[in-house]
Symmetry: C2
Subunit: 469 residues, 2 copies
């Protein structure tokens, strides 16, 4: 299929020069940051609207001409959600990057979908307020983070992006502009469509504007590091931490084999290599007195749970190094990665799921380095395509493609058995689509299809993603 | 319309004796706790299933026979949401009152829809955990609280019921049993149908089971009372309280004219009658040291904002009296109420909205006592049908019906102008249905209708509620 001359004429009327059509410039819009290459597919054109009026006009045009429209933020996704799988055009939010309204009285900020998270954090800091969710990549657009319901480490205490979205402006498949929610914080007024749009990965509407709720700033942050002999004992300590009654902001677990990779990449060092794995805990509170008191209670719990050491990294530089190493783990493992997983299980199942992954690693002879969010059950395992020893990647593993598919299947079966989901924060996109029915079951799939059909009867919005409509 | 003999036969096969058909017993199922009487309508029969299997069989039967099904919890609603407006049957959750699973390791509890909030709080206390949302009436069923997205005072810090629902079991119009969510706390796995069901008031499915997330217990609670010369000055103090960076659990505002009514009803006394209104603040934290430090900072802010006094009610009995008076305000005003409102506006608009209500009161010559949740913008005003002086109701006001309708219209227009919603926590039901299109606009209404059509094509689930499908 290719775009008709009628499409081009109307599109130029709407957008003028803001259409990319040079084939050499289209390739970057054909993939995201996910590892598997089989999902790449460049669009026929890229449109760059500046506001919801232009988005509306583009959608009307594409609905009339039956042209698939795939929305793309910064392309930092890991599920190929922004890849134009069925051709058609990519609608990029890159020019929709204005902060529309900063409202300290209501503790809200309203931004266009294309504002990068980095810019959001800066604006919120200027307001002396706090936006807790912190998905890994600060280059991601707010619209993309909402479309995938991004998570990040701080979900233990604060929840995912979903919890902070008060309002959305969405352009529907027929071009209708729909304003959902607002600056109020309680509502029992009609179906809650805001939460239907969050996490729908561009299949139900194009998010053009987001109103986020903000919190008063935290006065103090402390980071604790606790090395353990084994990953299992590290994860096993988490219930004891939560049993103190203190909810840490983040509880991350990391195998030291993975730490080595990131240390090399960044030329920075992790505070301890004792044992096989570390727990990193971030505590926040009203002031240093508060967080230090929390650290004392939690430190004791960690020691009782078998920590080899408990380090309080109160130096800002040291904290920053650790957080950077943590945030670059995906990048560090990526060169050797066949596939990165993003499963989420109930907290009580995380230790046994990781045990299962370790057994897979042994029986299949494929390294599956693992890290993730210990207190919220969100585990990232990477099945590798290259050997890994002492933090250095070796050559390609024979038959890694087949092994990877087989590991994926076994791993997802384990997740479903434990009452979990195949994506905790990255989304389904194309990469996990095949496994969604196994996870959700036929009734859930049927309801999703009926909603898709109700909102996008011609199926022009990001077709082929999440499920086949 | 009346139920066919085929319906009766199959219904008896499913439920045996658990069907109410005696007309004298049906009346209580024809109304809820809302004041207006014009919405009353008894069902033709009441079915009392014990589990999702029976609910499924009943829905299949009613779909086949095109019999409207209206779900009812404890009937404590205030929007006539559980009234069988179009006849047919009421499905009561009163026998679905089992706690299915208490899981301290995952900080969750799973209950059947008919478990009363009172029983939920008891079960959670046994687990040494905390379920923050506290809608007024502890007799309400958990299923009803979820169906209406109930709120309560503690939403300032903790959010409404919505935030705590991790999983739902819902029986769809065709009888399919749909398990949504689970015990995991992060998911980007398909459309988030849990939040679509929450607040849908029984129009999209019958909620049969709920999994709630719980928090570690709070170690200390303090209650502050601050009387102010006027209601406006009390509400005007709220931004200064939030500006301290401390998020109280609750910030309630109450006119003293309303306090008098509740004091009489309960034979208990409010700590101060100085001035025209009070702010009541609930602070919670890890220990007394923490909450007392919060109280000091907030007390200073209240004084600077013009509080006539700041009382720290650290005696448990005194706290309980205040909370009981606060929780019985609706009951106290009810005998004189024409209509109770439940609007929610952005925090910054609450003072001017209440100012508008006071001007309405003066220009219409109708008392409109007002109280509510100051820090989350959720205001309850009652337009009265009887005169009110010194906390005593007098005779009926002439023309109160017409006045009430006209006040409602003006009040809702003011709410929409300020970017608010007509229901913060009670739901739309029948009582506010007429005003929903004015609030949400035609695109939102059309999307809601298309979703209703997709999930309940025959329109058997609570027909006539929220909107006409």
């Amino acid at each position: 299929m290719s775009l008709s001359s009628a499409w081009w004429k109307r599109a130029r009327d709407i957008l003028g020069e803001r259409i990319v059509s040079d084939p050499s410039l289209l390739d970057p819009y054909g993939h995201d940051e996910s590892a598997p290459e089989e999902f790449r597919n460049p669009p026929e054109a890229v449109v760059r609207p500046i506001d919801e009026g232009e988005v509306s006009a583009v959608l009307k045009l594409c609905r009339d001409e039956r042209v698939p429209v795939t929305v793309r933020g910064a392309g930092t996704g890991l599920a190929a959600g922004c890849v134009p799988a069925r051709g058609g055009i990519v609608l990029t939010t890159e020019l929709m990057n204005r902060v529309m309204d900063s409202d300290p009285a209501n503790l809200t900020i309203t931004v266009q979908a294309g504002v990068p998270l980095r810019k959001l954090y800066e604006e919120v800091a200027k307001m002396s307020l706090y936006f807790p969710p912190h998905p890994g990549d600060e280059g991601a657009h707010v619209g993309g983070a909402v479309a995938a319901n991004a998570g990040g480490a701080r979900a233990v205490k604060y929840g995912t992006v979903r919890r902070f979205v008060l309002g959305l402006q969405v352009v529907l498949a027929g071009g209708e502009i729909l304003d959902l929610g607002g600056k109020y914080i309680k509502s029992s007024t009609g179906y809650h469509l805001v939460d239907l749009m969050i996490g729908s990965e561009g299949t139900l509407g194009v998010i053009t504007r987001i109103t986020l709720s903000l919190l008063p700033p935290v006065g103090s942050v402390q980071t604790l590091l606790a090395p353990f002999a084994t990953l299992e004992s590290a994860i096993g300590a988490v219930p004891r931490v939560l049993g103190t009654g203190i909810l840490p902001c983040a509880v991350e677990f990391i195998e030291h084999s993975v730490v080595l990779l990131a240390e090399r990449l960044l030329n920075k060092s992790w505070p301890s290599h004792e044992g096989a794995a570390s727990l990193m805990l971030i505590l926040d509170g009203r002031n240093d007195q508060d967080t230090l008191a929390q650290a004392e209670v939690i430190g004791t719990a960690l020691e009782q749970a078998g920590a080899l050491d408990v380090l309080l990294t109160d130096q800002k530089g040291r904290q920053a190094d650790m957080l950077e190493i943590r945030s670059m783990l995906y990048e560090a493992i990526r060169p050797g990665t066949a596939e990165a997983f993003d499963i989420c299980v109930p907290r009580s199942e995380i230790a046994s799921h990781v045990g299962f992954v370790h057994r897979l690693e042994e029986t299949r002879g494929v390294p599956i380095p693992t890290y993730g969010h210990a207190a919220d059950g969100n585990v990232h395992s990477h099945s590798l395509r290259r050997s890994l020893e002492n933090g250095v990647f070796g050559g390609e593993l024979p038959g890694w493609r087949e092994q990877s598919a087989s590991i994926r299947h076994a791993l997802y079966e384990d997740v479903v058995r434990r009452g979990g989901v195949i994506s905790g924060e990255h989304g389904i996109g194309l990469v996990k689509k095949e496994y969604l029915p196994m996870n959700l079951g036929p009734v859930h799939m049927a309801v999703m299809r009926s909603i898709k059909k109700a909102l996008d009867p011609e199926g022009i919005l990001n077709p082929g993603k999440i499920f086949d409509a």
